[in-house]
């Protein structure tokens, strides 16, 4: 049972890290010669179009969220501060989902700006309730790791068991 649990948690970590590193890259990639193709600009415009945050907070969110995603994805992947990093990612996902629900309740037709051209489960284009389900699905492994820890090759766990053995 423990082996299964550790395996599942390990796979969750790999999936979370891959997903959030990809999402972060979409939000950070430079635009080259394109007018609005830089990641931060597109992400800022996407946040702004949600009409939830004032402009100065849009700038802050567009600057900080991608780097939070990178940082947490790396920490989750290597297994350092795993639960804390997964907690931050869970909070981010809850925030994203709340924003999507808010947009849908206000009957706004918006795109997500989450994963660039990649579509996970929902069709490309305007967001619908499918996006809420998709976010909930991503939230599950984040919460699992936040609550249960990192499973195999989790440096936090290995360090803790070494410390216990030494005492």
């Amino acid at each position: 049972m423990s082996r299964l649990r550790h395996s599942v948690l390990f796979l969750c970590r790999i999936a979370i890290a891959a997903l959030f590193l990809f999402a972060a890259w979409q939000k950070l990639k430079p635009g080259g010669e394109l007018i609005v193709d830089s990641g931060p600009q597109k992400f800022a415009m996407a946040i702004h179009s949600f009409k939830i945050l004032p402009e100065h907070l849009v700038h802050l969110a567009a600057g900080v969220i991608p780097w939070l995603e990178v940082l947490c994805a790396v920490l989750v992947l290597v297994g350092v501060w795993t639960r804390a990093a997964a907690t931050v990612l869970s909070l981010l996902m809850i925030g994203f989902t709340a924003a999507v629900v808010s947009v849908l309740l206000r009957q706004m037709s918006l795109t997500c700006g989450c994963f660039g051209n990649l579509t996970l489960l929902c069709p490309k284009g305007v967001m619908g309730w499918c996006k809420v389900g998709e976010n909930a699905l991503i939230l599950i492994p984040c919460v699992l790791v936040a609550v249960l820890g990192g499973g195999w090759l989790d440096l936090d766990r290995l360090r803790m068991s070494n410390a216990t053995r030494n005492t």
């Binding site: 010669e33 415009m45 700038h59 900080v64 990178v70 990093a85 931050v88």
Partner: protein
């Protein structure tokens, strides 16, 4: 243990803020929600095909794909590549008129009734709710992603143009311009307007 978790969570958030601030500081482009968005510091000089090439076979303002509009002589002129490329994302109606005179494709991001009541001549209706429909898919196939496009909506708080711009960016469009104050400014300046009735009278085609 929970206290350590909270401390680590806050530390991660703090470090994320520091990284975000450093990235914003070092990045050569500036995020802006209003004017000349993210224009690189060095201006590119891409080629800009004409509206005739860009719009050939473009579906019209209805959701049913239709053949291309018959373009006027004016519309077949080759756009001035330099002037189109040197403009930022957000432009005013005067700059838009200059692009219109050069034959650049115009996209109307408003809803059908507003479009029918009056729009920029030869503009195509393409709002974000149409993306994913066969009409929009066909439009994306025939529009030239390397050609400049001008998008407009109702101005003011209207974000429809930005939404369409994002979708076009995802589809690979490279030169997108948005009329910041939208169709009201175009109308206010007395620039040419076409209604659905005008198009019908002209032969039933967009």
């Amino acid at each position: 243990m929970p206290l350590i978790l909270v401390q680590r969570t806050l530390a991660i958030v703090g470090l994320g803020c520091v990284l975000g601030a450093a990235d914003s500081w070092l990045r050569p482009t500036v995020i802006t929600l209003k004017d000349n968005a993210s224009a690189p510091r060095s201006e590119p000089a891409p080629t800009t095909p004409s509206r005739s090439a860009a719009a050939r076979g473009m579906p019209a303002q209805t959701t049913t794909p239709e053949p291309a509009p018959a373009l006027s002589d004016k519309a077949t002129k080759t756009p001035d590549a330099t002037s189109a490329a040197s403009l930022g994302l957000m432009i005013d109606a005067k700059a838009a008129k200059a692009l219109f005179d050069q034959g650049v494709v115009f996209l109307d991001a408003r809803i059908q009734p507003e479009f029918d009541a009056g729009h920029v001549p030869q503009a195509f209706l393409l709002n974000s709710t149409m993306f994913g429909t066969p009409a929009a898919d066909d439009a994306m196939k025939v529009l030239d992603a390397n050609a400049p496009v001008v998008i407009y909506c109702g101005g003011g708080d209207c974000d429809a143009s930005k939404n369409v711009a994002i979708l076009l960016q995802q589809a690979g469009f490279k030169q997108i311009h948005i009329i910041e104050k939208g169709f009201p400014e175009w109308k206010e300046l007395g620039y040419p307007i076409e209604t659905a009735a005008d198009r019908t009278n002209a032969g039933g085609k967009p």
